[in-house]
C-alpha cells in the first residue's frame, strides 16, 4: 500500500508498504530517517519515540497505515538545519550520551516534556521519561541534561 504523510515538514511518499508494517520501519527503511531506533519492537524502550500529530508515540507500535495523511516529526526534524536543538545541545554539554542508542528517543521525549512543562521538577522529569530506557548512563547525566535544557543548570 501507499503511505503519504508529512515528515519533518516535508511531504513524503512510501510505496509497497506491507499492511502490518510499523511506522518505524517506514521511517528507517523506506524514508531514510534512521534517527528513531529499532530496539525492543514492543513499546518498552522508547528508542523509537517520534511525534505523531504532535504527540510522542512509539513508532514501532504505530501501524504505518495509520500515519497516512498525518504529521510526523522525528529527531531529525527538531534542529534547525545544522543547528542542534537546545535539548540536543544540553545532552552534548552534559555528557548524557554513552552508546547513544536511546538518545534520539530521549531527545524527543524531553522536547515534548519541556514544550508542555518548561521548568519540570525532578519527579516530573522521571515520570515523563519513564518509557525511555537507557542501559549505559544510569540516567543521572540525562537528568542533568534535562535540567540544563530547562535552564536549571545551576542545580545540576
Amino acid at each position: 500500500m501507499r503511505i503519504d504523510c508529512v515528515v519533518n515538514g516535508v511531504f513524503r511518499r512510501a510505496d509497497d508498504v506491507w499492511a502490518g508494517e510499523s511506522l518505524l520501519h517506514v521511517l528507517r527503511e523506506r524514508l531514510g530517517l534512521p534517527g528513531a531506533k529499532n530496539a525492543c519492537e514492543q513499546g518498552e524502550c522508547g528508542s523509537c519515540t517520534v511525534y505523531l500529530d504532535g504527540e510522542p508515540v512509539c513508532a514501532c507500535l504505530v501501524p504505518a497505515g495509520q500515519a497516512r495523511g498525518r504529521d510526523v516529526v522525528t529527531v531529525e526534524g527538531l534542529g534547525d538545519g545544522d543547528e542542534l536543538h537546545p535539548v540536543q545541545r544540553a545532552f552534548v554539554a552534559a555528557g548524557a550520551v554513552q552508546c547513544g542508542f536511546c538518545t534520539p528517543g530521549l531527545v524527543v521525549a524531553v522536547h515534548d516534556l519541556l514544550a508542555r512543562t518548561p521548568s519540570p521538577a525532578d519527579g516530573e522529569i522521571r515520570e515523563a521519561l519513564a518509557g525511555n530506557l537507557c542501559r549505559c548512563t544510569g540516567y543521572e547525566k540525562i537528568l542533568t541534561a534535562v535540567r540544563l535544557a530547562a535552564g536549571r543548570e545551576h542545580e545540576s
Binding site: M1, Q42, E55, C58, L61, V62, P63, A130
Partner: protein, 288 residues
C-alpha cells in the same frame, strides 16, 4: 495482508461484517507487538483510528459513555473527577508514549486478565457496548471476558464504548509490579464505595483466567462498614476483607510471580484500598 481503513462507524461495522477475520486495531500497543514478533498474521488489519464516533466521551441517560477509542492520556487528564478508579488505573498503564495511544476498547479487545482498565470497570459495574450490522447490545464487564484473551465479542462485532454508572463515591486502584512504569500487573485490585446506596464493588486483575470480582468481600464491606457514623475502620474488618479478596482469586505461578505471592499481595492491596477509600469517605463527611 490488507489494511482496511473505514472513515465512519457505519462503514467500520460494514467492513467488520465483510471481513470477520480482520484484526481490529486502535492504538496498536497490543496488536503491533503481536505483528512485530510474528505471533499473528491476520489476513487484514481493521484500523479504527479514523472513526470519530469512537474517540469521544459524554453523558448518556445518567451514564458516562466512554468511546472505545479514547486514549488513556485523555482519561487521566479529562475524566479523573468522574471515573477516578479508571483514571488511576489509566495512570499506571505503560509510559506516556503508550498512554497517548492505548485505549480501553483495546484493553477489552485483548481481554487479557492483566488489562489495567478491567478491574475498575468491574468494580463500578460498567457495561460494554458491542455493535454490529445486526444491532447493538450491552453486556456487563463481568460477563465480557470468558478466558485469557477470550471474550463474548462475536466475529462481526466491534467494541463501541463502555458505559459507567453515574453514582459517585471513593474509588481506588493499585497494582503490583517491579517498577511504577512499563509494568504488566503481577496482580491488581480496584475498589469502589457507593455510600449513597451502601454498596461496594471490587475488581481483581492478573490473578485468575479473567478479571474477577470478590463478591463475598463486597458483601462483607457493604454490611459491616460504619457508613452512617463514618467511624474509623475496625482492623479486623480490614483483615477479613483482605482475606476474602485473596480467596476470590485463582492465581497461577508464572514468570511475573507465584500464585502464593499474588494471593498475599492482593490481601495487602485490598487492605490499602479500603483504608484509602474510607479515609476519603470520612473526609468528605467532615470526619477524620
Amino acid at each position: 495482508m490488507d489494511f482496511l481503513q473505514p472513515e465512519s462507524w457505519a462503514e467500520a461495522l460494514a467492513v467488520r461484517a465483510a471481513y470477520p477475520e480482520a484484526l481490529p486495531v486502535a492504538g496498536g500497543t497490543d496488536v503491533m507487538v503481536e505483528l512485530n514478533f510474528a505471533r499473528r498474521r491476520p489476513p487484514a488489519l481493521l484500523d479504527l483510528g479514523r472513526v470519530a464516533e469512537l474517540a469521544d466521551w459524554g453523558g448518556e441517560d445518567g451514564l458516562l459513555r466512554l468511546g472505545a477509542g479514547v486514549p488513556y492520556r485523555r482519561i487521566v487528564t479529562e475524566l479523573a473527577g468522574r471515573v477516578p478508579g479508571l483514571a488511576m488505573a489509566a495512570r499506571t498503564v505503560g509510559s506516556p508514549q503508550i498512554r497517548n495511544r492505548g485505549t480501553v476498547g483495546g484493553n477489552l479487545g485483548s481481554a487479557s486478565p492483566a488489562g489495567d482498565a478491567l478491574p475498575p470497570l468491574l468494580a463500578t459495574g460498567a457495561l460494554v457496548e458491542l455493535a454490529s450490522v445486526r444491532g447493538v447490545r450491552r453486556v456487563p464487564v463481568a460477563g465480557f471476558c470468558t478466558g485469557p484473551k477470550r471474550s463474548v465479542l462475536a466475529p462481526d462485532e466491534l467494541i463501541a464504548a463502555v458505559l459507567l454508572p453515574a453514582e459517585r463515591g471513593p474509588e481506588q486502584f493499585a497494582k503490583i509490579g517491579t517498577r511504577n512504569a512499563m509494568v504488566i500487573a503481577v496482580c491488581s485490585f480496584a475498589l469502589a464505595l457507593r455510600p449513597a446506596d451502601r454498596t461496594v464493588g471490587t475488581g481483581i486483575g492478573s490473578a485468575a483466567p479473567t478479571p474477577v470480582r470478590a463478591v463475598a468481600a463486597e458483601e462483607l464491606l457493604a454490611a459491616e462498614l460504619p457508613w452512617a457514623s463514618r467511624a474509623e475502620l475496625p482492623d479486623p474488618l480490614v483483615r477479613r476483607f483482605g482475606e476474602l479478596v485473596a480467596a476470590a482469586a485463582s492465581p497461577i505461578d508464572d514468570v511475573r510471580g507465584t500464585a502464593a505471592y499474588r494471593r498475599h499481595a492482593l490481601g495487602v492491596l485490598a487492605g490499602r484500598a479500603v483504608r484509602r477509600a474510607w479515609t476519603e469517605h470520612r473526609r468528605e463527611g467532615g470526619a477524620g
